[in-house]
Symmetry: C2
């Protein structure tokens, strides 16, 4: 069975398409990104979480359906497989609103999310059954609709004999703990604390510490590090979620007395040690598999290797291109839904139960 | 198989639920309307085809999902069947935008439609598989996404030996021609011309001609009638669509020289004769089955009976309550989609082909 996953993220750069082949396991046949035209990118930003005319959302949703279908066709051509060989498409859609925590709304407690990119258009143009709206079902089951990636980590990295931890270092860092031979109910996933966002903030206009060169030149302020590590969050038992807001300007100001290189080195060490604290809860874990922007920070990866007792690898070594990971994820989630299997990890999203994700449009 | 259909129309009065039982044919087990709370009605109007915050659409969509699920439960209780006996739900959703004719949009020709009322919530709350977004697939197939009722007329009124015409007299009047023992490809559907809207406009503040009492007192202006019937539209071969706009203030002004009763009588006669002209294309039709607001106009029904050579009946005689018809329709369309059968009539919507309608959410 050949399945395409389509993802377009909140950065609104373009449309990522991964095509997977499933037999006993799966392999990635190819990956391709189609950039958004400038006017489409502007249109998406103009309807996302803001004041907008209903017409613009509806029209854009159908237009994105056309573009997603075209991106799938282009990817098939690039990889050299006929469109007709595709059996299924999973499309995340473009998120234009997400509110995972319920609010009071007209007398009800309502959480909600909104992805556009009409799947009926994708299905009709490609001739391939298309699943969309993966987050809606988790929210309907009481979850926050995110993160969905732990379920995919499980499917990618689960091993019959090796106990693994998938570590994603984005702005925030999070881990998915996958015991050997686990069922999905056995896995745990939570945020460990800061990923790159404190380092990034401290780099100012440079935006990020390329290869960790700045941190490498710096000296860790051990006193500040000890103080920061004393935060109760790092010792709390999961499930738990670290918000970007807790590492905002007030937090960054605590590094203000340090030279930039020392500040960044201390922030890197905070990331490494909070990850290590979280991973220390799972002494049986044998491998740590890292993905996310943090993998490009050579210094950070070295420090992780030094501090963790486990073997530290990157997802790329397992055939999972960092850039392709989310598109791969939605191919896998579509495959699971198609077979009537749940896709969320209830402990990660806060849902009352694991549920089948997505809505199905036929050609 | 027991199927619930949920409809909430553009009048935003409330949530109509019909529950049908399908065996060889179907029977309506019950019908129930749950009025919208005032604040919900206001919220719907405030997001429909207007300037709005994305958040309001997302939140309202999930709230409507809750209300639709509650309405289905209430209907089950009222009818006296357990919720668990339901096998399927078809939910039309609340239309907040519809643009069936394509427009130029960022370099593409885009038609679009938008119904809200999250089906993942309906499915999860009721435990029943829910199909939504019936119009999207027709639009994706090149159609206008409307009307979908002809397909339902076919399923309700098709007879192995009797050739029938379903006539709906709303603002505009339209017919669905269903030959004896027809396949769905054999049916035709089109607007015949004015239904009630010219009469209604001529009634001014009274809004409509109750029971046709005003028209009954009036005298038809034969010269004006002949002149109006000369419009090329009424002789055109179908498919064709009569827009409300062609019967706007300019059209109504042509009756200005007449006394009100004479004007209304002439407008009623125009409705009757344009319907008769359309039906005359199908000399084999044996029965005309009328639904819509026009059935409440006794004078109009009498005139139809007098002018048409066919037997004239109302849909109510066939067990189809006028108020319940659309909710019934979406139960039937869901049933068809669930069985992998197309639901649109391509000749009525302008779609390139008949397609399976809707997206499926599972509990």
């Amino acid at each position: 069975m050949k399945v395409a996953g389509i993802m377009s993220g909140t950065s609104v750069d373009g449309i990522d398409v991964a095509i997977l082949e499933f037999e006993h396991h799966f392999k990635v046949l190819g990956f391709h990104t189609v950039p958004y035209p400038d006017d489409v990118r502007q249109a998406i930003l103009s309807v996302s979480n803001t004041q907008v005319h209903t017409a613009d959302i509806a029209r854009l949703s159908y237009l994105l359906g056309e573009l997603y279908a075209a991106a799938v066709k282009e990817t098939c051509t690039k990889i050299g497989i006929p469109l007709a060989a595709l059996n299924l498409i999973g499309s995340h859609g473009q998120t234009i609103f997400h509110e995972g925590e319920p609010i009071d709304y007209l007398g009800y407690r309502i959480a909600s999310t909104m992805q556009i990119g009409e799947p009926a258009v994708i299905a009709k143009r490609t001739g391939v059954t298309t699943i969309c709206d993966f987050r809606a079902d988790d929210i309907a089951a009481g979850g926050k609709g995110a993160p969905l990636v732990p379920a995919v980590d499980f499917r990618i990295f689960r091993h019959p004999e090796i106990s693994r931890i998938a570590l994603n270092i984005g702005g925030i860092a999070n881990i998915t703990v996958i015991p050997a031979n686990a069922y999905i109910e056995n896995i745990e996933a939570f945020d460990t604390g800061p990923g790159n966002l404190v380092m990034d903030a401290l780099m100012g206009d440079a935006r990020f510490d390329r290869n960790g060169e700045t941190a490498r030149r710096g000296k860790v302020d051990q006193e500040l590090l000890r103080e920061l590590l004393r935060n109760v969050y790092y010792d709390q038992a999961p499930p738990k979620t670290a918000g970007r807001e807790q590492y905002g300007p007030d937090f960054v100001a605590r590094f203000a007395h340090l030279k930039q290189a020392d500040a960044v080195a201390t922030a890197a060490e905070l990331t490494v040690h909070t990850i290590a604290k979280a991973i220390a809860r799972y002494p049986g874990a044998e491998e740590v598999i890292v993905s996310g922007g943090g993998t490009h920070n050579a210094y950070l990866m070295e420090r992780l290797g030094a501090v963790l007792k486990q073997e530290v690898r990157t997802a790329t070594e397992y055939g999972i291109d960092n850039d392709a990971k989310e598109a791969i994820a939605f191919a896998i989630l579509a495959y699971e839904s198609f077979h009537g299997r749940p896709g969320n990890v209830a402990s990660a999203t806060g849902a009352a139960r694991a549920v089948i994700l997505g809505k199905c449009s036929v050609p």
